[in-house]
């Protein structure tokens, strides 16, 4: 493991410049992300590592276009997310980004395939194309036999794989994962991360994952960005051999 200072990657996909995100809690101003700058290269697997309240999830939400920075700029493929209006941000989330959550967030009254189909409905993809892409996404996460099941009928690992299929179905260029193994046992969590890396290798996607489990980050990521009190305190580039 080699510790290096922040280095601009060769082909920058995401450029974070002096981003801060403030929250007001009564009279107190809380700075969840504090003047943070970071680059993510295309095809990279970046792990955001930090303890609870370090600002890693807030940063992920800002990168995923779910939230806006209080100051600073986030450029994705040259487009400043902070300057996008609400429909523009929605389009970014729909077309560029896939998102996986700790608690899976599958809609309970829909079957797995209907959940996976949801982003395609929002993107107004035609029905025959939708069916084809849903089948492909479920096949990729090896859940085709469970397509007609509701989330409550699936195990935690299956639900997260289903959520992964939903995140991939719109063929995004970046996948954001917020503690994807947080609600899973270690073996299942490892399976999910193996799947994530397999997908990254196959599709050449860029991945940004929030985790507080350093061993997992070291095993699967290309680089670790360490956060504390909303600041980037260290970046660790992992040699290719470190990836198991």
């Amino acid at each position: 493991m080699v510790t290096t200072p922040a280095m601009p990657p060769t082909s920058t996909l995401i450029q974070v410049d002096h981003v801060s995100r403030d929250y007001r809690l009564g009279d107190t101003l809380i700075r969840a992300v504090n003047d943070l700058s970071l680059q993510v290269a295309a095809g990279e697997f970046l792990a955001l590592l930090g303890s609870s309240g370090s600002g890693k999830s807030t940063l992920l939400n800002l990168l995923a276009g779910l939230d806006r920075p209080s100051s600073g700029a986030i450029h994705v493929r040259g487009q400043n997310l902070a300057a996008l209006d609400s429909p523009g941000l929605a389009r970014y989330r729909r077309e560029t980004v896939g998102m996986v959550f700790q608690s899976f967030n599958l809609l309970p009254r829909m079957t797995l395939e209907e959940n996976v189909e949801l982003p395609l409905r929002l993107a107004e993809v035609d029905r025959p194309e939708r069916s084809r892409r849903v089948a492909q996404a479920l096949d990729r996460v090896r859940l085709s036999p469970r397509a007609k099941h509701r989330p409550s009928e699936l195990s935690g690992g299956e639900q997260q794989r289903g959520a992964l299929a939903r995140a991939l179905v719109n063929q995004p260029s970046i996948l954001f994962a917020d503690e994807p193994t947080g609600n899973l046992d270690s073996a299942t969590g490892e399976q999910i991360l193996l799947l994530l890396r397999e997908i990254q290798d196959t599709l050449g996607m860029t991945m940004v994952m929030v985790t507080h489990e350093r061993p997992l980050a070291e095993r699967f990521a290309n680089r670790i960005a360490m956060l504390s009190d909303g600041r980037l305190i260290d970046q660790i580039a992992l040699p290719a051999g470190a990836r198991a």
Partner: protein
């Protein structure tokens, strides 16, 4: 999102909280039902009144009298257009022909009503006879048992139910039976005719009467039918007839009319028969004013009920407005139910809204989804409400009919749901629901996705 997908998601969401959404929809349905029931009552009563009045033939008719200031006791206010000085024009056969030639006039006929004595089964009954013009069809009579006049010159009579009951309690058995009409015939006697008479007493009688004679006659008539009521009862101030004859038959009888004596006194017995009043039937109520003016210009007095019809419409419009307002009140309460349900749904589905937004749903998509749910509740509630309102109306009609039948009166349809009322009520329910959905939909759309996703 495409409309089909939006509708699909909305229906899914509505099905999810089926009990709550059904109750809310039922609230809308009850609101719409009260509105529809109220308005159907207004429309039904208006239709009933209009139908009755149309059947009475009052609104497409001009009543013509000679311009004579003959007024009974209890004069009332002074006339606006008093009779001109000099001799007024007589309302005779010539005048009748003239009116018939006017444009848009369908029929001109006299009011022939006279007192008579009916002989049936050896008994005698006093009553009034009314001549029914050819232009009036069977539909003008309500509750007709038996048949209408087989021809305008048939020696037939139709009896009013109450009178028929006097003749026989089993009124149906009267149909086809014969009765004898005894009446006073007016004869115009010329001086020559008088001198030819041999009976000196008779001559004296007739000389004393000054030129008209009244003789007792009889006419045999077959009872064709029995009718509940006389649709033109009371019009013209003579009271309703209890025995109806075809007008032509009634005219042929030359029965003595109440105005004969008046004519005689006024004209000194000119010998030409005149009418107490003529009814001029016009193609449609629109032409009434024009025909009325034309007749007035010929020197006759006229009267029509057009103004009364206008006031009636105004009264019903105000009545409908009030009924509508009361009905809308329930729908307003129902709209509060929609707001409540959707606000609750936002709280429950906060996380789902967050997921939708994270997956790329725009604020507009979320807003449309809530709108679609509100609209769907309004639409289904509207259809249910119209059905329920119609049923309430039917129940009211049913109840009223039972009550009327107990009073020996014919049943009436007091509630009526025309297609425009049904469609408007559904559209109104959807519109009210969408307005009720404005606030919840706006609130859902503005939800911050990060906060929504954090919601447990």
């Amino acid at each position: 999102m495409k409309p089909r997908d939006l509708a699909d998601l909305a229906v899914r969401n509505l099905r999810e909280a089926i009990l709550r959404n059904s109750l809310t929809t039922l609230g809308v349905a009850v609101g719409v039902a009260s509105l529809v029931a109220m308005l159907s009552l207004g429309v039904g009563l208006q239709a009933l009144a209009s139908q009755r009045l149309a059947k009475s033939g009052l609104f497409d008719a001009v009543f013509v009298t000679s311009r004579r200031d003959f007024r009974g006791p209890g004069d009332g206010p002074p006339r606006k257009n008093p009779a001109p000085h000099g001799n007024p024009k007589p309302l005779d056969e010539d005048a009748r022909q003239q009116f018939a030639k006017l444009p848009n006039v369908v029929d001109v006929y006299p009011q022939i009503r006279f007192f008579t004595d009916i002989r049936y089964n050896g008994n005698s009954y006093s009553t009034n006879v009314l001549g029914v013009p050819e232009s009036r069809t069977a539909s003008a009579f309500e509750g007709l048992t038996g048949k209408y006049f087989s021809s305008p010159t048939a020696d037939e009579a139709i009896l009013q139910t109450e009178f028929a009951k006097e003749l026989s309690p089993q009124t149906a058995s009267l149909i086809g039976q014969e009765l004898v009409l005894r009446y006073a015939q007016r004869r115009t006697a010329s001086p020559d005719e008088i001198s030819k008479e041999q009976d000196i007493d008779k001559q004296l009688d007739e000389m004393m009467s000054g030129g008209i004679s009244i003789v007792s006659r009889e006419k045999k008539l077959r009872i064709a039918g029995i009718v509940d009521s006389d649709p033109s009862a009371g019009i013209g101030g003579f009271g309703g007839g209890r025995v109806f004859l075809p007008l032509r038959i009634a005219e042929q009888l030359h029965a003595a009319q109440p105005n004969d004596v008046q004519d005689f006194v006024r004209g000194g017995g000119s010998g030409k028969p005149t009418y107490a009043a003529l009814t001029v039937r016009v193609k449609s109520p629109k032409e009434v004013t024009q025909v009325e003016d034309a007749i007035k210009s010929q020197g006759f007095s006229t009267f029509s009920l057009l103004d009364a019809s206008k006031s009636l419409r105004l009264i019903f419009t105000v009545f409908d407005l009030f009924l509508g307002l009361f009905g809308s009140l329930a729908l307003t309460v129902a709209s509060l139910g929609i707001i409540n349900t959707l606000v609750m749904a936002i709280l429950e589905r906060r996380r789902e809204i967050g997921v939708l937004k994270a997956l790329g749903a725009t604020d507009g998509d979320v807003r449309s989804l809530f709108f679609a749910e509100a609209g769907a509740m309004g639409f289904v509630g509207g259809i249910l409400g119209v059905t329920l309102g119609w049923l309430i109306g039917q129940a009211l009609t049913w109840g009223t009919t039972i009550y009327l039948r107990r009073q020996d009166l014919p049943g009436v349809k007091i509630s009526y749901v025309p297609w425009w009322l049904a469609l408007s009520a559904i559209a109104f329910a959807v519109a009210v629901s969408l307005i009720a959905g404005l606030y919840p939909a706006g609130r859902a759309a503005k939800l911050n996705p990060v906060e929504a996703l954090r919601y447990e």
